[in-house]
Amino acid sequence: MSAPCLEIEGLSATLANGVRVLRSVSLTVEPGEVRALVGESGAGKSMIGKAVLGVLPPSIRVVEGRIALEGTELGKLAPRASRALIGARTALIPQDPLTALNPSRRIGPQMTDRLVKILGWDGTKADQRIRKLLDDVRIREPDRVLRSYPHELSGGMRQRVLIAAAFAAEPRLIVADEPTTALDVTVQKQILRLIVELQREHGTAILFVTHDLGVVAKISQKVTVLYAGKVVEQADTAALFASPQHPYTRALMAATPRYTDPMASLRPVDEAVLAGLSAEIATADRNWKPNARGSGHD
């Protein structure tokens, strides 16, 4: 069997003051698979995405564990080589389409830059490719959009542009970091549908970071549930929703609003569950020693 598209093993990261933000996280994403990464705010979901893409903030240090893209371990590469690999194999669909596009540059050059300057495509080919993808994300006036500045487009349009840009270079893995959170509810569904559609068409693996279990159920095949930087439960999506094993997962599901019975199901995650988890984590942290083979990628 070929190597998984993304393999994270025992990844731990700390803040400068030694507080752990990721606790021995292990997960894999197989080629062409959508894995959802769920958890509350601050659970470290986005951290994992940033670690994979090599853009962790300087305040956060990876102290142990390894990340491998298609079998190549990033920590073993020279920084430049690891950047090149990440650049060629991955892409990001960001959370906030408002800040993910450069406000002072037109959309067109922003989208083709990577293809032409990093991947060495010919300008015409890159242009055709971008237009094809804009068509795929249902942008009907590519000429106008390519000539626009980001502020001239709506949030939904910008997110479409970013999705098109993410798929343009045929990455093997896309990290989607809560791509619908900043959008109107009415637009969210369309965007999700587009992502799934393009994902199937291109066979791209996606690490889909979200806090929305409804989204998880719709788009993913596998789920990893995260609490306080620790993996609580991993399973096939269908299995997880059918019979969640961990009390925290059950509590999280119970806390999700349902349209059929909105008020009844709106209750916060059970305090006792959280207390149990926190105690468990505290014990683990006390016994934890960062091990020496910590890989030092930035």
């Binding site: 893409l53 090599g54 853009v55 300087p58 950047r83 090149a84 990440i86 650049g87 060629a88 991955t90 892409a91 990001l92 960001p94 959370q95 906030d96 800040t99 993910a100 596009l101 450069n102 406000p103 002072s104 540059r105 922003q110 830059d113 990577r114 300057k117 990093i118 500045y149 502020h151 001239e152 487009l153 709506s154 949030g155 939904g156 959008l183 109107d184 637009v187």
Partner: protein
Amino acid sequence: MVEARALPRRTNPRLWLAGGWLLVILLAAIFAPLVAPHDPLAQDLMLERLPPFWVTGAEPGYWLGTDSLGRDLLSRLIYGGRIAFAVAFAAAIAACLVGSALGLVAGYFGGWADRIVSRIVDIWMAFPPVLFAILLVAVLGTGLSSVIIAIAVIDWTRFCRVVRAEAMSQARMDYVENARIAGFGRLDIMLREVLPNVLPTIIALLSLEMGIAVIVEAILSFVNLSISTDDPTWGGMIAEGRLSIHQAWWVLVFPLIMLILTVLSFSQFGEGLKSRFDPVLR
């Protein structure tokens, strides 16, 4: 998210008024020999302290009157504009280049680069600027280039601080992270992603700095530390006018008006340009 369309472009009276005034002064300064009615240095003691044209006792051809040595005020103002603008452009551009480059590097790269640049700026700003300028000119010797160097050496910190802060906030933006993921080098990102977003600020600051350079030059010539006393400068004229304020108020008032209007125009022009250049405000 509402479709955010660009507002229809409104003419900005501030921009046009300020720009117009600056253009007039600039053209007058460039073509001074053609425009000025008299030789700015020609003294004529028969014509001393002539009042401006609307006051009785004015002499035709001396529109704004003459000073205590009988030199034509209008001509001196025009020639003074030459020096003011030469200093404004040269000093502001020099300060801008040095300050913006250091600020951009400090703000975008952070870490050691930032620490070093920021410490230098802190130390620099501990000197009182006007004293610093006077000291510098005293050391370098008077002359046009000394004044320009002094202003650039003192005021680059203004650019450095603002550009650093701006570059820092831009460096945290997602599009910078995106470019990083795509595999672009840091220098590349700094110049292509960060710089264009800092540029409107730099332009506004550049114009503001030109105004400040005009003031500093006036201060230096007021204390007789600018260029040779023979050459007409606005600051020098104000200093001379101060001595004869009771006999001939116009010798003081006209260069003062020129100075104020010009400095004001530079700052307004900068603000106007900023909103013009900024794609989000535009």
